[in-house]
């Protein structure tokens, strides 16, 4: 009895500490918003409401369904404080080491959540394409953002998204006008640099493609050194009719980083979204991918590869909501786990009553390489329409001894053989990344991690 009472008291204390911490993070920003003038009244109101939501919401515990397998304890214990100033000391030479060799792209760089003019190398952008700082745009042209920014993420129940809305300062904006065509990919580097105190950056990004626009975006989350920090980012994506977006996201943060991303996608009729998520870094990484359709015949293709090694937790939550007929969605995620790595996959495909002729398929396949790794997977279907084709599949397994034997019998060392088989498993997802330079780079990154992995 006393042990139970004790643990419940501890829980209450933890919840209070967490609530205090959240309010600290959201409150400071509200002041920031009101100080920036009257042109963005709507934005100030949004922030205010988001801050209210953060205050009103119960602190997630192990009993909250969406945090069932992902404890917040380690995040709270860090006592992260808000990043308040931008870092301008970096020069282009400093980021040389983190670039993808041979990648030909327009480059936008954000440092600790703030857009950096000095480090970005946008080159010549085609007509109808705008790339820049969110903060700058809020100051200069807030009307272009009204009705888009914060509207795609909506007033969802996600605590960290609300926190981000309340506290956002800067981020990346990419706007493509109707029919605009971005031929070269645009690379967005989210660079994090460690500060003396552990900091949390809360950038807000917006990518909006007008009707028939086409683009390829490569986002990379990277760090300088083994810094300890937290990123709580929200990315809002809007695709107009017939728009096409190829979106690669590579998360390769420092082994001490905490990473939270909410990606909110809104797709109009006939639009096509192809997203590839690579999760390699961080000690605690949570990604929520949320898709809504606003027109028929839209296609959403989400793929992912995650590697979780020692002391790493990688969590992907997916919420694909079919509210209209004739749309299709694909989710294909693969994971490799080693050491004491943990992975969580929670995918939901929701098909509303009117969403007839929905075609949805979800798969999650996991390779466990060590005795202490763990995977918790929960692929869910919630279907209220009858004329649909929906499926999901999950597997958890290990490298087949026969395959290993085959390679070893040809003189290949056990560790190399394992690496080859893992890369073969991962290859299918890496292939979907687009530019060859990026594919080679990610293959190398995955290979390096597997080489360092203590495979038993």
């Amino acid at each position: 009895m006393s042990a139970a009472a004790n643990s419940s008291r501890q829980q209450t204390e933890a919840a209070e500490a967490f609530a205090g911490w959240l309010q600290g993070l959201s409150g400071g920003a509200a002041v920031d918003a009101t100080s920036s003038g009257t042109a963005q009244d709507w934005l100030a109101a949004e922030r205010q409401q988001a801050a209210e939501r953060v205050r009103a919401q119960a602190v997630p515990t192990g009993k909250s369904e969406s945090w069932r397998y992902t404890g917040l304890r380690s995040l709270i214990d860090q006592g992260f404080v808000q990043v308040d100033e931008s870092l301008t000391a970096l020069t282009p030479d400093d980021i040389e080491e983190i670039l993808v060799p041979g990648l030909d792209a327009h480059r936008a760089v954000l440092v600790n959540g703030r857009y950096s003019e000095a480090l970005s190398d946008l080159g010549t952008l085609p007509r109808g394409v705008r790339v820049g700082s969110l903060q700058r745009m809020i100051e200069s042209d807030p009307d272009a953002l009204q009705g888009v920014l914060t509207r795609i993420a909506g007033e969802g129940s996600h605590l960290f998204a609300s926190l981000n809305t309340a506290a956002m300062q800067d981020g990346l904006v990419l706007l493509l006008e109707r029919g605009a065509l971005l031929e070269r990919p645009i690379e967005v580097i989210h660079l994090s640099v460690g500060m003396e105190e552990p900091r949390v950056a809360q950038p807000r990004h917006l990518i909006s493609l007008g009707d028939g626009a086409q683009a390829q975006v490569i986002e990379r989350y990277v760090s300088l050194g083994d810094a300890l920090y937290c990123t709580n980012s929200v990315l809002e994506l809007s695709l107009g009719r017939d728009a096409l977006l190829k979106h690669a996201r590579v998360q390769q943060e420092s082994p001490n980083a905490f990473h939270i991303t909410g990606l909110y996608l809104s797709q109009d009729a006939n639009s096509h979204y192809a997203g590839v998520n690579i999760g390699l870094g961080g000690t605690w990484a949570r990604t929520d991918l949320v898709t809504r359709f606003s027109g028929e015949h839209a296609e959403c293709d989400l793929q992912g590869l995650y590697l979780a090694g020692d002391k790493q937790l990688i969590d992907y939550h997916m919420d694909v909501r079919h509210g209209l007929p004739n749309c299709s969605s694909r989710e294909r995620f693969k994971g490799i786990l080693y050491g004491k790595g943990r992975a969580v996959f929670d995918g939901l495909v929701y098909v509303a009553r009117d969403a007839q002729k929905t075609d949805a398929a979800m798969s999650n396949r996991n390779l466990i390489l060590s005795a202490n790794a763990e995977v918790d997977t929960k692929p869910q279907l919630e279907i209220y329409a009858d004329d649909v084709k929906c499926s999901h599949g999950t597997t958890v397994g290990q490298i087949e001894p026969e395959m290993l034997f085959y390679l070893r019998s040809r003189g290949i060392s056990a560790s190399l053989a394992r690496r080859m088989l893992c890369l073969g498993f991962a290859g299918e997802i890496i292939e979907a990344l687009g530019p060859e330079a990026l594919r080679d780079y990610v293959t190398e990154q995955v290979g390096e991690r597997l080489e360092r992995a203590p495979l038993d």
């Binding site: 007839q356 997977t377 929906c390 597997t395 958890v396």
Partner: protein
């Protein structure tokens, strides 16, 4: 409360002659009639006094009363589960009468002593006990409401050393076995309904199969819910000792009623070394009328414990009835090389809701489990598969295969799948597959072009869809289940 068999018969014959399935759906519930019989019923309400009264009426020993009271006290603090995808108005647990026994003088020793009205009821249901005797050696422990009134084949089982009796009898006659095993698989504190059941269970079945014994016949209990406003709290405990085998069949029908009836049973299975238990259920309780009014609430906790090495527990269920089903027959695979199986067909139509599935908890080495779940949703039927496969860190070489398919008929029906998969061991192999679709036009067209009526075609396709599960049922049950399925889906198509 008058006997209205005439109505049921009319409905049936109408169905036969009209032959159009639109009319069939209105045929009503075939088994809806009420037997007038004097019941010894406690007034509605629940407190410690009621728990003591139930225990006293059953003449239970002190330890049993205490066990009930402990469960009751814990239950008071337990919350009602709300996570399932089912919707119903809150239940007033004080409005339920917790005990109802057909009046009896002495415990009947043969069928002659059984109240003839009861026997007639079984005949109406098409399960006359006399015929059951002859039929493939099935012993029937007929549970009418809460007290066992007829038990057959006792002697034959006695020869084999198999104990097959009501749980109240077992409490009296085999207290050491009951004390040793009761509540060890499903503790009273497991959930809200097990707490309630542990406090107020009135009767149920006890089976003990001794070492190295193969039970000579399939054991079977037919449940009936009778007497308005009586919740039924059955308790089943089956223990298969080392090297033994038993197959148990459970089948249910219930009379038509206007008020919702709560059924919160607990079933515990224990398989020791090399033992095997096969548990089959055909559930066809009253699902309520077209608006979903009056059906049974079926909140059941079923769990098997493969306690011994190389033991096996297999659940097979065909669920076509009840307004709401909340049921997760599970297996704890504790012994090394133990095997758990779950085969399920669930049909929801009208306003029926079902949240069902299984849990396979792998603890022992080289344990394996198979889950095959087939859901069919028609009209406004709602259905969810909710399953957990957990492979513990020490469960080396665990293996799981899960397949859950849903078939949707009509655009108001729904089907959900919520699988939880937790793997903490690298040598585990698990696969999960799920699909949701409707009967394709191509399939239908193919059958129609070969001269089958739409209804026959659908029936054939659905039977094919469920075949994997029906194959697991004992012969007699398989036939009954197929029949039940076609009857259930009549009128739901088109």
């Amino acid at each position: 409360m008058s006997a209205i068999p005439a109505e049921a018969i009319t409905a049936e014959s109408k169905a036969d002659t009209v032959g159009q399935y639109d009319d069939l759906v209105n045929a009503g519930y075939e088994h809806g009639f009420v037997t007038e019989i004097e019941s010894d019923t406690l007034p509605p309400g629940l407190d410690e006094g009621v728990v003591r009264a139930i225990s006293a009426r059953k003449g239970e020993p002190e330890w049993m009363t205490e066990w009930r009271l402990a469960a009751y006290r814990k239950w008071l603090d337990m919350p009602t589960p709300t996570w399932a995808a089912v919707h119903y108005p809150p239940i007033d647990y004080q409005a339920i009468s917790y005990f109802s026994a057909p009046k009896k003088k002495e415990g009947p020793k043969s069928l002659d002593e059984v109240d003839p009205i009861l026997l007639e009821t079984y005949q109406k249901l098409g399960i006359p006990i006399e015929e059951q005797k002859a039929l493939a050696g099935i012993a029937v422990d007929a549970v009418f409401d809460s007290v066992s009134v007829a038990t057959t084949f006792r002697e034959k089982l006695h020869e084999a050393g198999v104990i097959f009796c009501s749980i109240s009898e077992a409490v009296q006659e085999y207290p050491e076995l009951v004390q040793k095993y009761l509540g060890t698989v499903v503790p009273p504190t497991d959930n809200f309904y097990t707490g309630l059941n542990s406090a107020v269970f009135t009767d149920g079945t006890f089976v003990y199969v001794p070492k190295n014994t193969r039970c000579p016949m399939e054991l079977s209990t037919y449940f009936r819910i009778n007497t308005a406003n009586t919740g039924q709290f059955e308790r089943t405990l089956i223990v298969a000792d080392e090297g033994s085998y038993v197959s148990y069949l459970e089948g249910c029908t219930a009379p038509q009623r206007d008020e919702n009836q709560l059924h919160a049973a607990v079933v515990e299975l224990i398989a020791l070394d090399d033992a095997e238990i096969k548990y089959s259920t055909v559930q066809n309780w009253y699902p309520g009328d077209e608006d979903g009014k009056g059906g049974i609430y079926n909140f059941v906790t079923k769990r098997g414990d493969c306690r011994g090495h190389r033991s096996k527990i297999s659940w097979t269920q065909v669920e076509t009835g009840s307004a709401i089903t909340w049921k997760y027959p599970s297996c704890i695979l504790r012994g090394d090389d133990s095997v758990g199986e779950f085969y399920s067909v669930a049909v929801t139509k009208g306003r029926q809701q079902a949240d069902t599935g299984t849990k396979m908890i792998h603890l022992g080495k080289n344990t394996s489990s198979t889950i095959v779940s087939k859901g069919i949703s028609a009209q406004h039927g709602q259905q969810a598969y909710r399953g957990l496969v957990r492979i513990a860190a020490r469960a080396e070489g665990a293996r799981n295969h899960t397949q859950c398919d849903s078939l949707l008929i009509g655009d108001k029906s729904s089907a959900h799948t919520f699988p939880y998969i937790e793997v903490k061991n690298s040598s585990a192999k698990m696969e999960h597959e799920a699909t949701t679709s409707k009967i394709s036009d191509d399939q239908l067209f193919y059958c129609r072009s070969r001269g089958l009526s739409e209804e026959d075609a659908v029936s054939m396709i659905v039977n094919g869809f469920c075949k994997e599960v029906f194959n697991e049922l004992p012969m007699e049950f398989a036939v009954e289940a197929q029949k039940l399925l076609s009857i259930s889906l009549e009128g739901a198509v088109g």
